[in-house]
């Protein structure tokens, strides 16, 4: 019941937003919705509601992803208030409606126990995010939107084909042809292997495009780069997590069918490729938001590698989903502040932010350290766990490559982030702008960073359990 409430709440709020005539009042819907949604999710995570045979229900994975998404959304919602206050004269009906519907679609995706439903929800998120990316209404944002839309549509269509393939594989098993997850998992060993494999490839490519695994990630830098910081954070932290969930669902089926080996190799290949691409493109990256996008590619790679390696690394990957989401939130929101202050997101035009935007810039810097896996932030712990799994699995060469690429990415990102935060003071920018930091634009990232820091030091037992249970579903014995 609560679950349905969590699904319909955002849609109801969106409806109100459409009907509400005031551009000034409308933003207030966001934090209200977000907080109610989050409190619903908190209750949901406390009480397991997985029910066999229904379209909608929360298993451990879904609960976990839902928690991540809702938490991120709640934290970002206050930032949205500050954001719209800066753009008080802009028409925001479509944007806010999309923004409000967004968690609804993601909730459906997280709760979907049916591949078709999952697909519909993911497709819906694609379409909903398009107007949000286009919010700035200039040449760049239209280009980014176009690319995002087309590439993700292609990807999502491939995923559709993948679902059909898997369904057809099921027909061979003679079992129920339904795309209900628990039935599929039960009958997976009987599936036709060639169909299943081909289906998995389509699913992997399809949802991988959505998730942003290299070389399917090409829309990412454009979309993240042109979207408002808030949207970038939601996409990089929330939407990718949902896409990751979709991939995990297909992995679940493959594992149930006894096809671990292929899954692991393919995931490893894409994961390492993602790290390589990210490493190549963050070197001397002059655009801070595009840099964050490549960092997102990197972390998708890490997640996938974690799942591929298996064992304790799977747990690490689950932990990393949360860490990545929260940290990306910090980074995109603070990058948004910096962007707004300087009117640019080129590194050479945004230097010395620490003097003029002390909070945003220091949070940006801390977020950079966190995302690159520096202690005492939580990503350090999760990456550490993944590495531990790697060594436990005996992937010595892989781990050497992994560590090496992480170092390259650290250096590449640092080369951009440090000048932005600590570079020489730029006076001309100060005169040109009227943006000032307000509690609203700083509180959200601060909150998220505090969470990231706390998680690095102390992981609450319920969360740990949540990760463990989620990991159990997709864990392959190393």
């Amino acid at each position: 019941m609560l679950l349905y409430a969590a699904i319909f709440l955002p849609f109801a709020a969106a409806l109100i937003a459409v009907l509400l005539p005031s551009d000034r009042l409308r933003p207030w819907l966001i934090p209200v919705t977000a907080l109610i949604h989050f409190s619903l999710v908190l209750q949901l995570t406390a009480t397991p509601t997985a029910s066999a045979g229904s379209l909608i229900g929360l298993d451990a994975l879904g609960r976990f992803i839902l928690f991540v998404v809702s938490l991120l959304y709640a934290a970002c919602s206050f930032y949205a208030l500050g954001y719209f206050r800066c753009h008080a004269d802009w028409e925001n009906r479509i944007f806010i409606t999309a923004l409000l519907t967004f968690p609804g679609a993601m909730t459906i995706a997280a709760a979907a126990q049916h591949l078709g439903l999952l697909w519909v929800a993911v497709e819906a998120t694609t379409l909903l995010s398009a107007p949000m990316i286009y919010y700035n209404r200039n040449r760049f944002s239209i280009e980014a939107t176009w690319k995002y839309l087309l590439l993700c549509s292609v990807g999502i269509a491939l995923a559709m084909l993948g679902i059909l393939f898997v369904g057809y594989a099921g027909l061979h098993g003679g079992g129920e042809q339904e795309l209900l997850l628990d039935r599929m998992l039960a009958s997976a060993p009987l599936y036709s292997k060639p169909w299943l494999r081909a289906g998995f490839v389509f699913l992997l490519v399809g949802f991988g495009t959505k998730m942003g695994l290299a070389p399917l990630h090409t829309w990412k830098p454009d979309a993240y780069g042109e979207a408002p910081g808030l949207v970038g954070g939601l996409l990089a932290g929330g939407l990718t997590s949902v896409a990751f969930l979709a991939i995990l669902r297909s992995v679940q089926i493959m594992i149930a069918a006894g096809e671990q080996a292929l899954v692991r190799q393919m995931l490893l290949a894409l994961g390492v490729l993602s790290l390589v691409f990210a490493a190549i493109f963050v070197i001397r990256q002059r655009d801070i938001k595009r840099m964050l996008a490549y960092s997102s590619v990197e972390h998708m790679g890490i997640l996938v590698i974690g799942v591929a390696v298996g064992g304790v690394a799977t747990y690490g990957a689950m932990f990393h989903v949360l860490n990545n989401a929260l940290t990306k939130g910090v980074l995109f929101m603070t990058a948004g502040n910096i962007h707004r202050y300087y009117g640019s997101k080129r590194m050479c035009e945004t230097q010395g932010a620490l003097t003029v935007l002390p909070y945003s810039a220091s949070l940006f810097l801390a977020g950079f350290l966190a995302i690159t896996g520096s202690p005492p932030f939580a990503p350090f712990m999760s990456e550490f766990t993944i590495l531990r799994g790697m060594f436990a699995g005996g992937h010595l060469a892989l781990s050497a490559v992994f560590i090496g690429l992480l170092v390259v990415i650290f250096i590449g990102m640092g080369g951009t982030v440090l000048p932005v935060a600590m570079g020489p003071h730029m006076e001309e920018a100060e005169e040109a702008t009227d943006y000032r930091e307000t509690p609203l634009t700083v509180a959200s990232p601060l909150l998220l960073l505090a969470a990231v820091l706390c998680l690095g030091i102390y992981l609450p037992e319920p969360l740990r359990l949540m990760f463990t249970e989620a990991a159990k579903l997709v864990e392959v014995a190393p």
Binding site: F140, I142, E143, L149, L150, G167, Y168, S192, W195, F281
Partner: protein, 212 residues
């Protein structure tokens, strides 16, 4: 081999080549629409006549055969373009590539075991070939509108395969497919409109400001 579905599928494959080889936008749109309309007949031949089947066929016909071409024609009227000038890869090579991918589709299709009911049907190769043709359109053409057409062919390919499973799949998913396609085309149409306003062209070559 001579069953009606196979005949339809053969035509669909021929349409693929035709679309890949033509330069006139209006012809392209018509052909894609015709291809869609042909495909919408498939469920009727394949499945027993239920409400569900009719709905699927009717919905597909309306969407693919009527609504989509209407939207696209409106779009090209607005921007006043007639033909795809200078595709990235010429028409003849594209056709050759199309032949190659179609052959690949047949070969790959052979490796996938079919249910007894579907033996000797062209469903799998036709679906994959149409998919690949859609990909080729997306890769070789420069105009936003032809890229949308490519995407539509892509969807057509999936639809071919989907009809095989139409019975097995719950109703809502199927509607989801169609609905999503509608919305996707709709959103793409809006975006195309904006592109045209911003760049006063639908040539996507212009859309490469965001790069490394």
């Amino acid at each position: 081999m001579n069953t009606p579905p196979n005949l339809i599928l053969l035509f669909v494959i021929l349409f693929n080549f035709f679309i890949l080889g033509t330069s006139r936008l209006a012809t392209c749109i018509r052909s894609v629409a015709l291809q869609g309309a042909l495909l919408s007949l498939l469920p009727l031949f394949l499945h027993t006549s239920t409400f569900h089947t009719y709905l699927l066929a009717g919905g597909a016909f309306i969407l693919k055969g009527l609504l989509m071409p209407w939207l696209l024609f409106r779009a090209i009227r607005q921007v006043r373009i007639r033909r795809e000038v200078e595709p990235r890869i010429g028409y003849i090579p594209t056709l050759l590539l199309g032949a190659l991918t179609t052959a690949g589709a047949f070969i790959f299709g052979d490796r996938l075991p079919l249910l007894p009911a579907h033996l000797h049907s062209l469903f799998i190769p036709a679906a994959l070939a149409t998919l690949a043709a859609g990909f080729l359109m997306l890769i070789t053409r420069r105009k936003a509108i032809t890229q949308v057409l490519g995407y539509l062919m892509f969807e057509n390919g999936i639809f071919i395969f989907g009809t095989l499973l139409a019975e097995a799949m719950p109703f809502m998913v199927e509607m989801g497919v169609l609905l999503d396609m509608l919305v996707a085309i709709f959103v793409m149409g809006i975006v195309m409109n904006h592109i045209n306003r911003e760049f006063s062209t639908l040539n996507t070559e212009q859309l490469s400001l965001l790069r490394e």
